[in-house]
């Protein structure tokens, strides 16, 4: 057992070539899932690595360092297209969790109810994966999370950044979360919406992603397509639009209930995003 907290990326990647380690940043998923008496071969703490935290605007768009916390996301000035992401950040657990939990941790944990995933899907986010042997590769977020607690992250890879292409200038966004209590709650369903309206208040672009209703949060392409050209008053969600969703029964709600309420939640998210 050892604890590595390197300050440079190369050292971190070198450490990852060893087997059986656990990457830790905010610890908000690592510790709750720890089992009595079971320990990793080593911890790799990524919070001190130069360049791995913070948000920067590049020619290619926005770069969120992997170890950027939800609080940092909440506190930085971003265009309205990121309001949904900020709203989700404010719903991650509690302030304690937002101060520690990171954007990459949320993605790598790959919970079906991860608050960060739906808004990042509506932002067409990509993830940057880096390893000592193969350098850097970039994957769309939708391809990165492959199932419940499953990702495309290779054993020697580190998720180093979340990349968001510059959203349309007039895009606005929102995030809606349904839970059984106000704070510290895992979603029953959640919806993120990014929307662009023309001067006649007709939808020119819309992106909608739903979480906690399938193993991985899903965009709803048929619905997005159907809404183009519509006004907000004409928004309607049909059963077919929800075909990508495959909710399950669990302690938070039944599959039927999730499908029942998510249509309404989508409508509310659209209205809120456009408000």
């Amino acid at each position: 057992m050892s604890y590595h907290n390197p300050t440079d990326l190369a050292s971190a990647l070198e450490t990852l070539t060893l087997q059986g380690g656990k990457i830790v940043a905010g610890g908000t998923d690592v510790y709750p899932s720890a089992k009595q008496g079971q320990q990793p071969a080593f911890f790799l703490d990524v919070t001190r690595i130069a360049g791995l935290s913070g948000i920067t605007l590049t020619k290619a768009g926005y770069r969120f360092g992997a170890a950027t916390t939800w609080t940092e996301i909440l506190n930085v000035d971003l265009p309205p297209a990121f309001d949904g992401l900020k709203s989700a950040a404010a719903e991650v657990g509690s302030i304690q969790i937002q101060n520690a939990g990171t954007i990459a941790g949320n993605l790598c944990n790959a919970s079906p109810a991860a608050d960060g995933v739906p808004p990042l899907l509506t932002l067409d986010a990509e993830v940057e994966l880096t390893s000592a042997a193969n350098g850097t590769r970039v994957l769309p977020l939708a391809q990165f999370i492959t199932g419940v607690r499953q990702t495309a992250l290779a054993p020697e890879e580190l998720l180093t950044a979340v990349l968001v292409p510059e959203p349309p200038q007039n895009a606005t966004s929102a995030f809606e979360k349904l839970g059984s209590r106000r704070y510290l709650v895992i979603s029953i369903t959640m919806t993120a919406c990014l929307i662009c309206l023309d001067t006649n208040n007709r939808i020119t672009e819309v992106r909608i992603a739903v979480g906690a209703c399938s193993p991985v949060a899903r965009r709803l392409p048929a619905l997005e397509q159907a809404l183009i050209g519509k006004t907000l008053q004409e928004v309607a969600v049909e059963a077919d639009h929800l075909a990508p969703l495959t909710p399950i029964d669990d302690v938070r709600g039944s599959a039927d209930y999730r499908l029942d309420v998510v249509a309404e939640q989508i409508c509310r998210a659209i209205q809120k995003a456009a408000a």
């Binding site: 050892s2 209590r181 709600g253 309420v261």
Partner: protein
């Protein structure tokens, strides 16, 4: 550079001072702070970021210390609650405000609450309510109902006042300063660092056979393991239970386990060994067996019998009948029938069971959180087979109890481990161990019929309830007895029949939880009352007032109180709010289609003390030669305020300011038994003992000094001064000789409530007093989602005499929060919700404002007229919410919790009708 830091030091600033430690790789910051740096003010409630009790500030930002690798503290500034309180004027002022509002009850969440609030107040000295909720949303509190915490953080005017502290004075808690300063020591805060730890090996199945492998070999071959405990190590009898006739629970299962989480063995080892010990490496083999996990299957012939002599797994029943219920129902003008269900509810105190034990010569001393120290001692006598003189039980601070800490948990393992090793030992349950293995509220399945005449007078009432008592009896017989006695609610019902049964299953033992089954019965009774009122065309509040119990009218047990029946006053107190809120809701609904508001009411009553059983409390006091007045206050304060209330009652009777008292708490060596903290009995029963003890002390003084009855006493510096009409008299205490405890004057008085046994029809005098309550709630239902948001409570409580009105409000708000949780979100599912993120209790954002209406209908038996309160509060809350949901959205929810999915399903079914 890439040097692993496992050997290097973690250097940081702790509360402004340099600190250095060598944490194990990945050790939690909370553990390093508590075990290596003595920061026991950092409390651990869940080790998963779900409760926030461990909140510390790192570079000024609140984080859960249980989720941070200790190594991440390197180079940073860490502030703990005690450090904040000592160093930061903002924190100190907040501590004063907490005390002025009674914002700390048990105090286990207080450090985390205050640390979170200090971070807010540093940035924003005058936050709004929403800002306070956002800042404190990550810290769970199970006692207060959060409203007083919000008031304290927002700097609302104090509700306490400086006073003598006599009966009726809203003074600060006497034990509050230690709570806000992070100094109170709870169950896990006693053991010195490095103490041997006990790890309990538990059944992973609801029912399983098991065989041990080579235990001696395991101990010999596992480095650092000192010993193993199993049933073979029990020197007395391997059984415990709170009711002598029903003792049935083993300390360690033998041959077969009866519920998931039942103990079979324990490992005793050094902390660093326990840290890395995988329970799967313990030599035990399990054979899973078919289990009965619901009460219907458990009563069939196919089901395995859990206990010999309890046929069809029926543990016992309760029965009360008067008049002829069946005939009255048959001839009633109007009648209604209902079926109501509820699930397991977890106590979810923020402090898991914890304690410490050590040997003192040939005696064993157990320090643990408990509601009943003398019952703990009596259980250990049986288990150890030792004379009680060789056992000492010293309660620690109790971070919430609500009934579950009446039963023993860690105590036998601690005592046996200390005895076997001869060394000090400690044991703290993990959150999931606590949830798996300790008692729950009984799930209920209730069928009820009520009939009335056309005027609305109830004529007949027939109640049948089955309760899942789980694998062992615990307090199940008490639930079975209490339910029929209380099933009428506080109403006059001439023809009544109520039967209850406790059924064994392979579920966790159900036991005592605030209300002993009465809240479940009230959900059925008060919900069906609304159905009946509706059918009669009567206003629900006026229907209840019409049927309310009065003085000189018999209860369903045939008990007649000539005084003190306060339910009518409680109900009438709701009339103004009822009219106003119904009007407001109607106006709101006229303008909204998806959101609908409704108003609901419900009432309740609760008998204080044991049901028809002896129930004494003894309170001892002494005065030392130097004039120190010592009160041996043995009534366990689990947050409700017994330390303060019992002292106020003693001080009132003696005639001195409460701040003149020095308190010695419960300790089976030096403090007499004030009974268990249960059945809402401490203010009433121990309070009477305190009053009698104070009066006895006063009588001795008056007699020795030959002064008038109404003489004013001052006791200080070894002199008693008494002032009466004849002038000022003085008496030197040094003229008296001291006894073995150093007291020159002493008093010790016992009070036992006058009750009478119940006959085969439940007729008799089960309680010397009842307390009464009526709640009104406004809810908002989002009909598209099925979510229910309570907006406002008005709670009328007849407490006879509010000994400390601030503490009364605290009980009311905290009880409502638990009732709200039971109504809307709480359901414990064994194996599925064994943590505080799948099992949800209300957060600070879920609790609306509560207006408390204190009704004082004095009780002839109560000290200065006081009645019990603790359990009464959550009895009306859940049915009031269910009635409000119906008023808002037209659906009757008959199964709690009324989760969004259940409410939405009911709404959809309703719209199809």
């Amino acid at each position: 550079m890439n040097k692993p830091t496992d050997l290097s030091a973690t250097t940081f600033t702790l509360n402004g001072q340099p600190a250095q430690c060598h944490p194990a790789p990945g050790q939690r910051l909370s553990e390093m702070l508590r075990e290596q740096l003595d920061a026991r003010d950092v409390k651990i409630g869940c080790n998963a970021g779900d409760c926030g009790a461990c909140t510390v500030l790192v570079d000024g930002a609140p984080v859960c210390a249980c989720l941070m690798p200790a190594q991440q503290a390197a180079g940073r500034a860490v502030e703990t609650p005690a450090g904040l309180h000592a160093n930061d004027p903002v924190a100190h002022a907040l501590g004063e405000s907490f005390q002025n509002h009674g914002a700390a009850q048990c105090g286990i969440c207080t450090p985390g609450m205050m640390a979170s609030a200090v971070a807010l107040l540093r940035a924003n000295p005058q936050p709004t309510e929403t800002q306070v909720q956002d800042a404190l949303g990550g810290v769970l509190c199970r006692c207060t109902g959060y409203r007083k915490i919000i008031d304290a953080v927002m700097g609302a005017p104090a509700i306490t006042r400086a006073a003598q502290g006599h009966a009726g004075d809203a003074i600060r808690r006497l034990d509050g300063a230690d709570k806000v300063a992070g100094r109170e020591a709870f169950g896990d805060d006693i053991a010195p660092p490095g103490t041997l730890e006990v790890l309990v090996i538990r059944s992973p199945f609801p029912r399983a056979g098991f065989t041990f492998g080579d235990l001696d070999g395991f101990v010999a071959n596992t480095t650092g393991v000192e010993a193993v405990l199993t049933a073979a190590d029990i020197t007395g009898r391997n059984v415990f239970g709170v009711i002598p006739q029903f003792m049935d629970q083993p300390v360690f299962a033998e041959g077969e386990t009866r519920f998931r989480g039942e103990a079979v063995a324990a490992v005793i080892a050094a902390p660093e060994v326990i840290r890395t010990f995988d329970p799967a490496s313990f030599p035990v083999t399990w054979q899973e067996r078919p289990a009965s996990t619901d009460i219907h299957n458990a009563q069939t012939d196919r089901a395995a019998q859990l206990h010999e002599g309890r046929d069809n797994n029926v543990m016992c029943g309760g029965f009360v009948a008067c008049g002829d219920a069946k005939a009255a129902l048959a001839s009633a003008d109007v009648s209604v029938t209902g079926h109501y269900q509820s699930g397991f509810v977890e106590h979810a105190y923020i402090e898991p069971e914890a304690g410490f034990a050590r040997m003192d010569g040939d005696r064993v001393e157990v320090y643990a959180c408990t509601q009943a120290p003398v019952m703990d001692l009596e259980a250990l006598e049986i288990i150890l087979g030792w004379d009680r003189s060789r056992i000492r039980v010293v309660p620690t601070g109790v971070g919430g109890g609500f009934g579950s800490k009446l039963d023993i948990s860690v105590q036998p393992y601690l005592a046996m481990a200390a005895i076997k090793t001869g060394k000090p030992v400690r044991l703290t349950y993990s959150r999931s161990e606590s949830m798996q293995s300790t008692t729950k509220r009984h799930p209920s399945d209730i069928r009820l019929s009520i009939g009335a005449d056309r005027s609305g007078k109830i004529t007949g009432y027939d109640f049948y309830g089955e309760f899942d008592t789980g694998a062992y009896a615990s307090w199940g017989p008490t639930v079975a007895n209490r339910v029929p006695v209380h099933a009428s609610g506080p109403y006059s019902i001439p023809n009544f029949c109520a039967e209850s049964k406790g059924i064994h299953t392979n579920n966790p033992p159900s036991g005592a939880f605030r209300g002993f089954g009465v809240p479940q019965a009230a959900i059925a009774q008060e919900s069906l009352f609304d159905v009946l009122a509706d059918k009669l065309g009567l206003d629900p509040l006026e229907f209840r007032i019409l049927n309310a119990l009065e003085n000189n009218a018999p209860t369903v047990c045939g008990q007649v109180f000539s005084q003190g029946v306060g339910i009518r006053a409680c109900l009438e107190a709701l009339r103004p709010a009822w009219a106003k809120e119904r009007g407001a809701a109607a106006a709101f609904n006229a303008g909204n289609t998806t959101l609908k508001r409704g108003v609901g009411i419900a009432a309740g009553w609760y008998g204080c003390g044991n049901t028809s059983l002896p129930n004494p409390s003894t309170i001892k006091a002494g005065i030392r030669a130097d004039g120190t007045i010592v009160l041996h206050q043995g009534a366990m304060d689990i947050g409700q305020g017994a330390n303060t209330v019992i002292s106020q009652l003693f001080a009132t009777a003696l005639g001195v300011p409460v701040h003149a008292l020095t308190l010695i708490g419960a300790d089976t060596d030096v403090t007499p038994d004030a009974g268990k903290t249960s059945a809402s009995r401490q203010t009433y029963v121990s309070g009477n003992a305190a009053r009698l003890s104070g009066a006895a002390m006063r009588a001795q003084i008056l007699e020795r000094m030959n002064v008038a009855e109404d003489a004013q006493l001052e006791i200080a510096d070894g002199i008693i001064h008494a002032t009466d009409n004849a002038g000022r008299h003085s008496f030197a205490l040094s003229s008296l000789s001291a006894d073995g405890e150093g007291y020159v004057l002493r008093s010790e008085e016992t009070y036992d409530p006058p009750t009478k046994p119940l006959d085969e029809n439940g007729q008799g005098a089960p309680y010397a007093q009842f307390g009464y309550a009526a709640h009104l709630v406004v809810v908002e239902v989002d009909t598209a989602f099925g979510t229910v948001k309570p907006l406002h409570f008005v709670a009328a409580h007849d407490v006879g005499k509010a000994i400390n009105p601030m503490l009364v409000e605290g009980q009311v708000q905290g009880g409502i929060a638990q009732g709200l949780g039971m109504a809307l979100m709480e359901e414990y599912l064994p194996g599925r919700t064994e943590n505080l993120h799948d099992y949800l209790i209300p957060t600070i954002g879920d609790m609306p404002p509560v207006e408390t209406l204190i009704i004082e209908e004095p009780d002839a038996h109560g000290p200065y007229g006081a009645k019990g309160l603790g359990e009464h509060v959550l009895i009306p809350t859940a049915p009031a919410i269910l009635n409000a949901i119906h008023n808002a959205a037209g659906v009757r929810i008959t199964q709690v919790p009324a989760t969004p999915a259940r409410v939405r399903a009911a709404l959809k079914a309703n719209s199809h009708d």
